[in-house]
Amino acid sequence: MAIGKYEDLNAMQIDVLREVGNIGSGNATTALSSMVGKMIDIEVPNVEVLGFNEAIEAVGGPEKVIAGVLIRINGDVDGMIMFLFEQNLIALISETFFGAAPENITALNEAELSALTEMGNIMAGSYVNAISQLAGLTIDVEPPMMTIDMLGAIMSVPAIEMGEMGDKLLFIDNNMIIDSTSIQSKMLLLPTIDSLDHLLGKLGVA
């Protein structure tokens, strides 16, 4: 059956998407971990189909200030990968590259912003490579873009691009846990509705 809206996905398809997230995020986390020289744990991903407002609550709430790195993808899956870097991960990345953590994440300098963007780029590449190899998918990755702002404003970008035909977002959501703290950075894979049929076909669960 063609997927006309995200709510049409069945349990098996959700399980397969979760496994895609598991493979991709595991590889991306390994890349991050080796760059910053620290153990980073990753939780089992959730596949969420939520209304726009619930989606924003689920990733931290609308006014939470966070770094967002957005990478558009296309090919066997169209959509975007979004990294939401929390303060502790921003500090860790800045320490790795520059030897010091920034005092205020809303006032990063150009070099610090570039480092975060590049980290998102490396992680997105690792994510996509893993799912390309294991699931035989061809996926192109566009250059990364980043901003530091309120989470609601950042998440309005996928909501607008994927929410024209329906009122929900699908995202495969991974929590990264650094030093066992409860401050969790996230990586999200957000496929468009239009590319889901093709993706699920490629994965054998259309």
Binding site: V65, I148, D149, S156, V157, G163, E164
Partner: protein
């Protein structure tokens, strides 16, 4: 006792008296505050997209689009007793959150134009605006006097 009314994405709410109406973290979306000072009736809409006419199926809410949300909210305010010719608007949002050379993704600009067109069609003048640029905005309106505050991570708070 007034209430705090929270307007989500693709949503609008109306209030009066000492109600406070707020919508959080407008990115490329647009917040439109409408206020009739003769009756103190206030409405705040948070639209996500400019135009509903390309949407052929019924899976989606009218509150998402500039061309449907604003007339619907005005109808509701009229039903509450608002004096429609007295309505004035303040708008905020329409940012480009991620800089890109691909104009396909510059929905913020299209949203600004669509909200202005919808307000022009309703003959509602725009008293003030804080639109465009590249950052998110939270918009708050006090129904008791129609005051509107914009707050953002980069610019802090200001009255619109």
């Amino acid at each position: 006792m007034g209430q705090k009314l929270v307007v989500g994405i693709s949503d609008w709410k109306v209030g009066r008296g000492d109600d406070i109406i707020v919508t959080y973290a407008l990115g490329s979306c647009i917040g439109t505050c409408l206020y009739d000072k003769t009756t103190g009736i206030a409405g705040l809409s948070h639209i996500m997209l400019p135009d509903s006419t390309a949407i052929i199926d019924g899976h989606t809410t009218r509150m998402k689009f500039a061309d449907t949300a604003l007339p619907d909210m005005v109808d509701r305010m009229k039903a509450m007793g608002a004096n429609i010719p007295a309505l004035k608007a303040k708008i905020a949002g329409g940012a480009v959150m991620f800089q890109t050379s691909n104009s396909r993704f510059n929905i913020g600009e299209r949203n600004i134009e669509a909200v202005k067109a919808a307000l022009a069609k309703l003959r509602i003048p725009i008293l003030a605006q804080d639109v465009g640029l590249n950052y998110g905005r939270t918009m708050t309106m006090w129904a008791e006097n129609g005051a509107v505050e914009i707050s953002s991570t980069v610019m802090g708070k200001k009255m619109l």
